[in-house]
Symmetry: C2
Subunit: 624 residues, 2 copies
């Protein structure tokens, strides 16, 4: 099939609702505040309601046309605040797409791209910005005591529906045994809008929501909220197309990406981003230096503050919700990497290092940081302060280069907060298990509880092709320790550009890590979904077991491989052991047996002076 | 193709040597003590030598015929000890294969199985046992101060070749920064045969090596040795064939399984096991109660000590190296599971629970434990004391049922040690991250440092289809904490019987977990392979990067997907960023730049009174 047909067919597949699921909404204090949930109907009549990142795509009632973009969620809220204005926006340049004047592609490719660009231009909204002197960040409102609709949205979203969880309330003994260890986090039982406001005000959480991205369904990144995950997409100079990237976005949020970063490089960066932002219900992040470098033909030394600044405004107008800015990579830190096993592995970091050395000057991102804050607060773009000196292998972990930069990110956080600009901090990377906790400790110490956003970390280096697993281990551990968002790693890490299936594999691995962290922290309600699935498993409700999993399709397909008949979906045994050997089946028989006979037998035995039934001993000590 | 052809072709694939690798041997104090290693030749002339579990299969010089079994490694060592005798062995019964007298299958199937049985009978060695009054366990020798060839073999194997690691020796500063946290383990820099003897003598390590499995290449399971992994194979009543299981064995050890458990149920258990043991260079474990249950037609109540005992001898004669025996599941503990979310999920555990309740009697495994020890020491079969009450979901983790059984396993360990029988302890299962450490603490406290052997644990319950990942997280953490062997979980867990690819996926996930644990513990030399791969990555030696990974085939295939040309294997860029955007390439340029200019610039700057170059600060605090 040709490319557009392929695109449409991919998107159709991607839009299919999850099995036994329907899109629901929790309506807030105003009718236009509708927080999405996914309600899963079980075969026993229960309805389990889940956090949902998939946007309108999984709603069969929603009319989706990627050429028109998603419906608007927040425009009214933004308008009501009366602190923004629409304006013409900066003048477009062909260079925005990395094309030099006069440069030509093949005529067929030219025509295709021209058409996509024309459509993107039609997609693009008229940009808004803060009125002169205004500050439109969620942090600014929060610090003035204002609970925005975005904050209320986040509160409702974090709580979700709770009614169904009553079925899975544990008794006090079990609750004491299973109690989480929040590792210093302060997670309330119920998230109130006021709690969200307070967390945003003190910088412990951010709500990435550019005023030019009104399609976004607000979400929070912070240590006292559910652990979030980010998926990276983006074309590159070597491969991939715009259509594929939009499809990957929709695919990524279907499987649970809370945020998506567009890391496109090469040609058509601007156009690709228009398509992605207008079709994204989740916050979009970028690394603006990538586009800036394209504009100077890939020659890092030719970068200038003026050109970079213009790129920030270009992307802020498009609606990018957070920028990775490697402003902590300072000239004096660069020599600290000289003896590293793998030097500087961050793309943005290596570009800036090259610039600094070529000019023998301090980084313009550092020297112009307050000017950057001025741009951020005019659009409510959040900082994701980049770790340009993150380790690229286990042996470079936790070295002075890394931690010198981290301390600088802490200083910059204070400056950003002076401007009420929302800020999170990026972290590594490659870190063996025993060095992970120190990363969190240092971050908390120097960055004042600004949300930590780590890539992995990968716990070993010898698993190319499986780095999603090598890093999910580290991600789960650092998520438990307090990291607010985990940037996924796909099986293609270090090897190639992830395709659709790689994106899914990376996301599922990271949903596992994030959920494991939520449970370890004792996030209220986090365990209920596990309990519902375990109960379904124990009661041989196979369909429910599949449908409550992170990936119902794969679970069902795996079961079908061994026992394809529909009848086996209600069978009281599974393919591992066969009909007469199932431990769960035997356990159920044991239970009935025990319920009937245990009490009488016990009395009889006790009367005989026996001590067959030992009393339940005090619970064994738990890890702290 | 028909079944035998398929088998031969699978095995051919499985036997292909790893890329750029050749089988080497470290020769010990006697010429017949040859410890296998895999030597990987890099494109830069280095040779990296790796631990190798694949047996003769990956040696192109080895003549392999699964109908004849593997060459003998240990017969001379066993014979020299003069404490065993060969004997006729117990009388075979058709019931050994789960076939009742007079029962018939289809005639085609009958013929096929009859042929496999005849071949198996030819395969089987004449059994040996301890001479009257003798004890032939490695622990017994160790406690008498004897260093056996098996112990020397293990020492050489754990050390491997070390010469190549000199290239990756870290300086003192880096070493201090990266120093592992052994969490109480006592790992020497070099493993001596005497150290192995001492670890085995005190019960802190076992060398599973039945005298009737002379094909085994000895290995150790213990907290002060490399963390090992176990792969489960086995046909079931529902699916799978003998040929497939032998192929899975060879496939599993190719990818790094240190031990394999044959969990077959249903028909042909005895014949399948003959094939597996005779073709296995790694220790084989079983759960004898599975076969015993088949012999009584699946009716747990009909089990008897006599029948079970006979089954132990049957399997000991075949050469099984360790038995999972759920002797800690006592009658008084059963009611502790009544309020569990998922009751008893261990197959062996549920069978014994049913038996105990049906008879209202203490488990015959518990009451006859000393008699079992007598059998174990006559063949040197090791105990793997089973956790029949392990939790089947996160909410059942660390409950009194589980820990009451664990304490009993500790008591039984003391009894086993009284008989000098090698013993390890099985552990869970399903445990959220924050409850993992307590499992290790309790095990160490009650089981006197006998090696811990855990299944996962799975950290969450909502990942059917991905439980290898959900459990690799827990496995890495508990491995770091001190678990000696990790039982793998495949993607098919809870859903179906793993096929060849699932086995590989499970093994790779667990090699990652085990290696992450070795690195966190600071196992000497563990990091060197990572360093070699990272250096290859940094230097764009793509082939070396693939070949040093856990799965060269997949790494190479992933790279080929994006950049299939051979030229790109030597290209100084990768598919993620393209030629002008590669951070590693830029870093190399930065380094040259820095090396040339930094010193001069620095002097110039300092002369000017600047403080651009900060001194390296003291290392930041590490996690304990």
């Amino acid at each position: 099939m040709n490319a557009p047909d392929k695109f449409v067919s991919l998107l159709t597949l991607t839009r299919e609702p999850f099995p036994a699921s329907c899109k629901g909404a929790i309506v807030g204090s105003r009718p236009d505040l509708r927080v999405p949930v996914r309600d899963v109907s079980l075969t026993n009549g229960e309805v389990i309601s889940l956090y949902d990142t998939s946007g309108p795509y999984t709603d069969p009632m929603a009319e989706i046309d990627v050429r028109r973009g998603l419906p608007d969620v927040r425009s009214a809220w933004i308008a009501e605040r009366s602190d923004t204005e629409s304006y013409e926006g900066r003048l477009r340049a062909v260079l925005d797409d990395g094309v030099k004047n006069g440069e030509r592609m093949s005529s067929a490719e030219d025509a295709r791209i021209a058409s996509l660009r024309a459509q993107a231009a039609a997609l693009q909204r008229t940009p808004r910005r803060a009125k002169s002197g205004a500050n439109v960040t969620q942090m600014h409102y929060a610090r003035r005591g204002i609970v925005t609709p975005e904050m209320e949205y986040v509160a409702l979203r974090e709580n979700g529906r709770r009614e169904w969880m009553a079925e899975y309330q544990a008794d006090a003994t079990r609750e004491a045994r299973l109690r989480g260890n929040p590792m210093g986090a302060s997670i309330p039982k119920i998230i109130t809008p006021e709690f969200v406001r307070d967390e945003v005000a003190r910088g412990r959480a951010i709500i990435p929501a550019n005023i030019n991205h009104p399609e976004v369904e607000p979400m929070a990144i912070g240590r006292n909220f559910k652990v979030k995950i980010n998926a990276n997409i983006g074309n590159s100079a070597v491969t991939s197309s715009i259509e594929e990237e939009v499809d990957k976005l929709v695919w990524a949020i279907r499987w649970g990406a809370d945020n998506v970063m567009d890391l496109s490089t090469g040609k058509n960066i601007h156009t690709t981003r228009d398509w992605i932002v207008r079709n994204s219900p989740v916050p979009i992040g970028t690394v603006p230096i990538y586009q800036a470098l394209e504009k100077v033909g890939g020659v890092a030394e030719d970068l200038t503050w003026a050109l970079y600044r213009d790129t920030l405004i270009e992307q802020a107008e498009q609606g990018v919700d957070y920028f990775t800015i490697h402003a902590g990579l300072r000239l004096p830190f660069i020599h600290l990497t000289a003896n590293r096993m793998t030097g500087i592995v961050s793309r943005g970091g290596s570009i800036m290092a090259k610039w600094c050395i070529a000019h023998h000057q301090e980084s313009f991102l550092y020297t112009h940081f307050e000017e950057i804050c001025e741009i951020m607060k005019a659009y409510d773009v959040s900082f994701s302060l980049g770790d340009g000196l993150r380790p690229g292998c286990a042996s470079d972990a936790n070295d002075e280069a890394q931690f010198a930069e981290l301390r600088t990110l802490g200083e910059l956080t204070q400056i950003a907060w002076k401007h009420d600009v929302q800020t999170m901090i990026e972290g590594p990377g490659h870190v063996p298990m025993h060095l992970i906790q120190a990363n969190m400790d240092e971050q908390l110490k120097h960055c004042h509880e600004a949300p930590f956003y780590t890539l992995g970390p990968l716990t070993i280096d010898i698993a190319p092709g499986y780095d999603h697993i090598a890093s999910a281990i580290g991600a789960a551990m650092i998520g438990w320790a307090g990291t607010a968002m985990l940037c996924y790693v796909t099986p293609k890490e270090h090897l190639g550009l992830p395709d659709r299936d790689d994106v899914k594999q990376g996301i599922i691995a990271y949903k596992i890590a994030a959920h494991a962290a939520d449970i370890a922290k004792g996030h209220p309600g986090a365990r209920s979904r596990d309990d519902a699935l375990s109960k379904a498993r124990f009661e041989f409700r196979w369909q429910d077991q599949f449908n409550l999993g992170l990936d119902p399709d794969t679970a069902r397909a795996f079961h079908d491989e061994t026992l394809p008949k529909d009848a086996s979906k209600v069978a009281h045994f599974c393919s591992m052991c066969g009909p007469k050997f199932c431990s769960m089946k035997i356990t159920q028989e044991v239970r009935e047996y025990a319920a009937a006979g245990m009490s009488a037998k016990s009395d009889e035995f006790k009367a005989g002076g026996g001590e067959m039934y030992i009393p339940i001993q005090p619970a064994a000590p738990q890890s702290p």
